[in-house]
């Protein structure tokens, strides 16, 4: 008995003694950020994905910078001009030094651009940004880029290629870079260490050309689980977190230890409809009989768009962390339409259109979507299905793990065609302007040109293609924006897809920190000030 009691007491004492120590307060010079997704590598040219790019932005810089609204500005290049329609000339910022003290020159630029297509086993190389360009060094601080055809997206492309040191990064592998060998850039922070699954640590580059950065040390912690990330912030494990779950935003707003900042994202959540087939596999008459593909009728498409109560989805499901959408990108972006507005919710008009189209009793439909790819995706699809059911379209929902969904939605059907009849998906324009949405989503699918890559509905409209093609060959910004806006209007009025809402990106930080939210979803230490 005594023994038992003693063991109990001992166990208790052990727990109390070893565990219940107060946490040491973080030093004010250090910023600890809880990230939702982990970079797969510290090699900036290895994997073109947000988690990798945002971390790379601290160590490496690009020739052209993008501000929090993805507006282009001077980066490592301080000036540029068009020599003719096919030739751009760039002047580099003088007196910029790499972290190892060596000077930055045009050789580093050319080295970096040549490295991009030659990273072995890169799961997502950045070749789309370097393709079709030839580089020519004029002198140490000047170089030219030539293209075969006029290329208006030159600056957008250059904003996506990180400049590495030709000296330090020659002959280093991706694994070397992960270990810190050759991970040398010109950026505001220097690479310290990368522990996969746990953390990535940076320290201040005191000699940065734009002045001394705010934080002496930056630690990114990888905390995938949403509730844990919030808990890590509340318990002081980290100073700020990204991707605050929408269910927690309202509660955190009332917590006086925390400040919330958000930014409208360039990510559109939309519905794509099968326009490829005359009979589509997941649409049937209510008695199960095969019917012709109703999505080929404009009235049906308009009816579906009108049946959506977008505001309710934004308010109830997204808890206000989204904005109703009427086109492919929020209208702060270049090339968007100033006239398109979100389609108003109108059940009566929607039913009428459906009757006029020859479906007075509706039909039955299955919507497919990813499960866990976008915030609240499953709940949104369920709400959409209920809204369609209200106008007489009996709608079932099937959500799949993202890995399965995207593979089947892109080429799960016969002859590698898209498999589903209607999908919910999300899209963000990497270029930060309208052609980056209109081309992939609504341009006619073409394996050669790269147009229509994400056009999983196979919408095809010669008028849209023509405007797009013209825009992509127009170097003048104002003219190009006009053409893209017109193309967007044609495609959206034709209901090539049904826009639902734009996501908002949300960050939460401890009181006293100021976070400037970015539309491109990047979480950067440079956006955080005391």
């Amino acid at each position: 008995m005594t023994m038992t009691r003693r063991s109990l007491a001992l166990a208790g004492a052990m727990l109390a003694g070893t565990l219940m120590m107060p946490l040491s307060a973080a030093t004010a010079q250090e910023l600890k950020i809880g990230l939702a997704a982990e970079p797969s590598s510290a090699d900036p040219h290895f994997h073109n994905l947000t988690p990798n790019n945002q971390v790379a932005r601290h160590v490496f810089e690009t020739l052209i910078s993008q501000d929090e609204f993805q507006r282009l500005g001077a980066g490592l290049a301080q000036g540029w001009k068009l020599i003719d329609d096919l030739t751009w000339e760039f002047t580099l910022r003088p007196n910029v030094k790499f972290h190892d003290g060596s000077p930055f020159t045009a050789d580093d630029v050319i080295f970096s651009f040549n490295r991009v297509p030659n990273v072995p086993k890169a799961p997502a190389p950045k070749t789309s940004f370097t393709r079709g360009k030839t580089f020519e060094k004029i002198n140490d601080l000047t170089f030219r880029v030539k293209t075969a055809t006029p290329y208006p997206l030159m600056l957008n492309d250059l904003a996506n290629i990180e400049i590495m040191s030709a000296k330090a990064a020659a002959n280093v592998t991706t694994e070397d870079l992960n270990a810190g060998k050759g991970t040398i850039g010109t950026g505001p922070y220097q690479f310290v260490e990368f522990v996969p699954g746990d953390r990535l640590v940076l320290k201040r580059n005191d000699n940065h050309w734009a002045g001394k950065p705010t934080w002496e040390r930056v630690t990114f912690r990888f905390i995938k689980s949403d509730p844990t990330r919030v808990a890590a912030l509340l318990s002081g494990d980290v100073d700020m977190i990204e991707n605050v779950p929408s269910a927690d935003v309202a509660r955190l707003k009332t917590d006086n230890r925390v400040t919330i900042s958000s930014a409208l994202s360039n990510r559109l959540i939309y519905l794509h409809m099968d326009r490829l087939r005359d009979e589509t596999p997941f649409v049937k008459a209510k008695d199960g009989a095969a019917i012709k593909n109703p999505f080929n009728d404009l009235k049906v498409r308009q009816a579906l768009s009108m049946a959506l109560n977008r505001q309710a989805i934004v308010d109830r499901i997204m808890e206000g962390e989204a904005v109703v959408a009427g086109q492919l990108l929020p209208d702060i972006y270049q090339g968007t339409s100033k006239t398109l507005k979100p389609v108003a919710y109108n059940v009566e008009a929607s039913r009428k259109l459906l009757t006029e189209a020859g479906f007075p009793n509706g039909f039955s439909l299955t919507i497919h979507g990813p499960n866990g790819r976008y915030p609240n995706d499953t709940k949104v699809i369920e709400a959409v299905a209920q809204m369609f059911t209200r106008i007489g379209i009996e709608t079932k929902v099937e959500t799949l793990p993202p890995a399965v969904f995207f593979s089947r939605a892109s080429n799960g059907g016969p002859n590698r065609t898209p498999e589903f009849s209607m999908i919910l998906a999300g899209w963000s324009a990497g270029t930060g302007e309208a052609s980056g949405s209109l081309g992939p989503l609504l341009g006619t699918f073409d394996t050669q040109s790269g147009i229509g890559t994400a056009n999983r509905g196979r919408y095809s409209n010669p008028k849209v293609d023509e405007l797009l093609k013209k825009a992509l060959a127009t170097v003048n910004d104002t003219e190009r924006a006009k053409l893209l806006a017109e193309g967007t209007e044609v495609a959206i009025n034709d209901v090539g897809l049904i826009p639902i809402y734009y996501n908002k990106n949300t960050w939460a930080a401890r009181k006293g920190l100021k976070v400037v939210g970015r539309t491109d979803e990047y979480t950067l230490a440079m956006s955080v000030k005391r």
Binding site: T2, S40, G197, S225, F406, P440, T447
Partner: protein, 325 residues
């Protein structure tokens, strides 16, 4: 004896091979990993280029043979997402998982054993009834929920322990551990407790029934009649006898602690191999998934092999059965 071990090793190799085939083809059926690798705005020829680079365009049996060739060269495939050797990535993360499982095991014994012995000695005591009811909760509450509650209570409300991650590590005899610093223990406390919860309940139940059974044995009655102190009866005569089944079960359970720490590691952002597995499944990183399964199967097979060898050493019938075949 040697024939027995050889036969067992051959069986083990067969199990590994079968698991590799099942997992390889299973993940192949799920989908094309290229969609988890490329960014959304990748063009069709970029996608095709990546598929060619990684061999996704080849028929599945060719992909499998290429993979087997890699394995035979000791490469075990390279992770699609991370680029490094799959087995290397797993072995890098293994110390963290082993450490977590070990501490969980210690918690299970340190907490479970005294509670179970007490409940066995005084089955009608209200505290004993509470312990037994608690052990049912330990069996039935979902790990992820308990994990979140632990974080809410100890980290957010009380602020005693960090919510996530592993403490600073030091290398001792080539093994990386975080258990030598106070900070390391603060970090491991909650995840280990979370992982141990089920095992604590298991130990409580084993210890209780063992104690009840042992208390009625003649040797305990004799010891009591001899006038030995209760402390000595429990500490020596009972405890020694109930430890045999507990040690056997925990030995086997250690394997499952290592293999199924996935949920706990994800919730506590513990940088172990379970978290890596979950992320790899989500990204369809086939070489990593297959390598993980191979490591875990080898772990189980090794534990079973050791147990079998011990049994055959203890029990001649096992050996004889081997010879007669």
């Amino acid at each position: 004896m040697l024939a027995f071990i050889i036969r067992r090793v051959a069986q083990a190799l067969f199990v590994v091979l079968a698991m590799v085939i099942i997992v390889f083809f299973g993940t192949y059926v799920v989908g094309d990993p290229v969609w988890m690798m490329v960014p959304g705005d990748a063009t069709q020829d970029q996608i095709e280029q990546v598929r060619r680079e990684f061999g996704f365009d080849k028929p599945v049996h060719v992909q499998f043979l290429l993979f087997v060739a890699d394995v035979l060269q000791g490469e075990f495939g390279r992770s699609y997402v991370h680029g490094g050797s799959a087995i290397g990535l797993i072995l890098d993360r293994m110390p963290a998982t082993l450490e977590l499982a070990l501490v969980a095991l210690i918690f299970a014994v340190v907490i479970g054993l005294p509670l179970g012995v007490f409940a066995g000695l005084k089955p009608d005591h209200p505290a004993a009834r509470t312990i037994m009811a608690g052990s049912i909760l330990g069996f039935s509450l979902p790990t992820f929920w308990v994990g979140l509650m632990l974080i809410m209570f100890f980290s957010v409300m009380l602020g005693w322990l960090p919510a996530t991650g592993r403490g600073p590590t030091t290398t001792v005899l080539g093994i990386e551990t975080s258990l030598l610093t106070l900070k390391g223990w603060q970090h491991i406390a909650l995840p280990a407790l979370n992982l141990a919860l089920l095992k604590i309940s298991l130990v409580i139940r084993l210890a209780r029934s063992g104690t009840r059974e042992a208390s009625l044995q003649d040797y305990v009655k004799f010891a009591r009649a001899k006038g030995l102190s209760p402390k000595r009866i429990v500490g020596v005569h009972i405890l020694k006898n109930i430890m045999i089944p507990i040690v056997t079960v925990l030995g086997l359970e250690f394997g499952s602690l290592v293999a199924f720490s996935v949920v706990t590691e994800t919730i506590f952002a513990w940088p172990g191999m379970g978290k890596l597995l979950l992320e790899s499944i989500q990204r369809l990183d086939r070489p990593l998934i297959v390598a993980y399964v191979m490591v875990v199967v080898l772990l189980f097979v090794t534990i079973n092999l050791i147990v079998d060898i011990l049994y055959s050493a203890l029990d001649p019938r096992v050996r004889l059965a081997g010879k007669n075949e």
